[in-house]
Amino acid sequence: MKKRVVSALLIAAMAVTAMAGCGSNSGGSGGGNDGGSASGEEGKVINIYSWNDEFRERVEAVYPEVKETSSDGTVTTLNDGTEIHWIINPNQDGVYQQKLDEALMKQADAAADDKIDIFLSETDYVNKYTDKDADAAMPLKDLGIDPEKDLADQYEFTKVTASDTEGVQRGSTWQCCPGLLVYRRDIAKEVFGTDDPEEIGQKVKDWDAMKGTAEELKAKGYFTFSSYADTFRLYGNSIAESWVSPGETVIKVDQKIMDWVKSSKEWLDAGYLDKNVKGQWNDDWNKAMGSASKVFAFLFPAWGIDFTLKPNWDGGDGVWGVTNPPQEYNWGGSYVHACTGTDNAEHVKDIILAVTVNKDNLLKISKDYSDFTNTVSGMQEAAKDDSFSSEFLGGQNAFTYFAPVAENIQIAPLSAYDQGCVELIQNSFSDYLQGKVDYDKAKTNFETAIKERYPDITEIQWPE
């Protein structure tokens, strides 16, 4: 009898502990911070959502209020005792956006110190967050930053990108991503007899010249680019109309995109591209940047040279050079947004101004991190300043080439659907380019995939 009681108690105890597990925990996270500080007063915690450490490094480098960052990189303490909490989630598989969205939905009910204060977005999906109705990113004006005056030295297209459909700017960036053509000097010398950036620049100045150059390279057994995906940004960023017009649910595939498909097919069949490299960010693509590769050139912005090409290159310095691309383009860029509902408006304003506006800070970032930064006058100075030249590029000052490209970039009209459209159109037509499916099937596959990604899309219109 006694034993039975004991065992009954035991199971009850187990059940209780199981439940208590939940109970105590909810108490822990819910009860710890007791509620909102009065509005107008600055909170003690600044929560910043991002997908990597890049922004933290920039803040640490140029924001004067930074005192120290914990060794694990999750908390940065400012001089006045305020803590920046870094909430980093990987971009991969949309995890970052998922977490951010989840937090944004709870923003209104969150305790003051749990509210998001700053979040970052990429060009591919910046529009989702700057949307006026979504009201996730605060207009800069509401922070006390006047885009007309304070951001006058920024590149115009970055301001357009970070604005909603009514032209209200809701974000700012320190980074500007004009792209160049990066080529192998040794191959250039062998095929064209020169590696001079000016002369190579002439050979690649537009698509027609490019084609003749490609034929010359082919004759010597070289590929012009590694994959059809390399040229996509040049076409994809020059579309005339956005993928989806504001307020509509129809995808309009731009003629430029079909031009990309057509010329990619042509180039691939002509043998100007390496058939074995299927798309970017894979092993074959990485290897195409190695010394054993037969690929002549890549199309990269500043970050691409530093973070992708350089680590993948296994030879010495000075083999690569840069010159103008066949067409001005922009690739990438991280935007900083103040989150609606922030309880740290003053700090947020300071951080945005320090990291994305202050010219000295931006030049420092350019010098220390080889980033092309968002200051027109600063970049013009850098273009003339030899201290900005790069060892990796054989002493060439890449800014000389970046600056004019940046000034000529016409940013394609954006929509909230861009990320999916850009990704899925490349995937669907990749099968076609490799000869796995016919043209019409590729179209159907795109339609299926895009409707899966965006359930509200009702129709897809193709040009012609």
Binding site: A134, N276, N427, P455, D456
Partner: protein, 320 residues
């Protein structure tokens, strides 16, 4: 009096024993499941960061799924599963039998057992990543094939339907055959040695012993292996997802049902994802019902009966 009470009391103890399981299940599975089923009747998704719905739409999600390529993905899933599962179960059975067969005198059993289970330890996603690298057109496998002269041009494994499907099947096989072997081996070792001894005396050869004693005896575990494999197959995701970068390329021929579901989850389409999972639920229920019926007749002592049958058979043959 005490004695009488005991009987009644004991049966009630069963409730206590199963209580934690059911509490945990109701909280962590049933409530989310009901949520899922409920939303399958709604139009409910995210557009950007705006939530659309939930608006009640009845069976619309179910109907539109039937109109999609869902059945094609179901077929893909089955093909991929079969390619991996058949070698997996055959090899696992053979290996398990070998390992417990003392007459084969297999050296280093411990070593082999440890080794064949190893692939199951590595994360499916990491494993797929490794395969992706190795079988890429410039990868080491092509390098080896070319250097020993088996092929002059690199084979585009991941570019062909057969290549991709075989790779997925091969990976599933490699990851799971060790697991099945260990499980079946445990089952075979659980069979009383008396039965084997008896069969030996009766002159059973190893094939007879395998088909008439081992197989019927390990039926419950075999059923378990089959059921878990079917569930696993139905839920196949990581490997084809990583290997084809979520596209099920080429031309969506290696797109599985869960990858399809994942693309709906990714777009936060709760309604459609809910309907799809209800379909999945029904299909897996039917499949398992059949397997369960097939491998488990109502006679709880079935294994013993089968053993007797085997003995008889063996005796007959021994006499003949």
């Amino acid at each position: 009096m005490k004695q009488k009470n005991k009987k009644v009391d004991y049966s009630k103890w069963g409730y206590f024993f199963i209580l934690p399981f059911f509490i945990s299940f109701f909280i962590f599975s049933l409530i989310p499941l009901i949520d899922t089923i409920r939303y399958s009747f709604f139009e409910y998704y995210r557009s950007g960061i705006k939530e659309i719905g939930p608006n009640f739409v009845g069976m619309a999600n179910y109907a539109s799924l039937l109109g999609s390529d869902m059945l094609k993905y179901a077929a893909n899933t089955m093909i991929l599963w079969v390619i991996g599962f058949i070698p997996q179960i055959v090899i696992a059975l053979v290996l398990a039998e070998w390992f417990v067969d003392a007459r084969l005198k297999i050296r280093g059993t411990q070593f082999f057992k440890v080794v064949i289970y190893l692939p199951n330890l590595i994360m499916a996603s990491a494993f797929a990543m490794l395969f992706f690298t190795m079988f890429s057109t410039n990868g080491p496998v092509n390098g080896i094939l070319m250097s020993i002269g088996l092929t002059s041009k690199p084979i585009d494994f991941l570019g062909s339907v057969m290549g991709t499907r075989s790779l997925v099947g091969f990976m599933n096989f490699l990851m799971w055959f060790g697991n099945s072997t260990i499980m079946l081996m445990a089952a075979i070792m659980g069979i009383s040695p008396d039965i084997f001894e008896a069969s030996e005396l009766d002159g059973c050869n190893s094939f007879q012993r395998f088909f008439f004693i081992t197989l019927p005896q390990i039926r419950p575990i075999l059923a378990y292996t089959l059921i878990t494999a079917i569930i696993g197959g139905l839920q196949m995701f990581d490997v084809p997802q990583i290997l084809t970068n979520g596209q099920g390329s080429p031309d969506r021929t290696s797109m599985t049902l869960i990858m399809f579901l994942n693309s709906h989850l990714k777009s936060r389409n709760y309604g459609m994802a809910g309907a799809l999972s209800v379909y999945l639920f029904i299909v897996s229920g039917i499949l398992c019902f059949f397997v369960y019926r097939m491998t488990n007749n109502d006679d709880p002592d079935g294994s013993k009966a089968a053993a007797k049958k085997a003995k008889k058979l063996a005796k007959k043959q021994g006499r003949g």
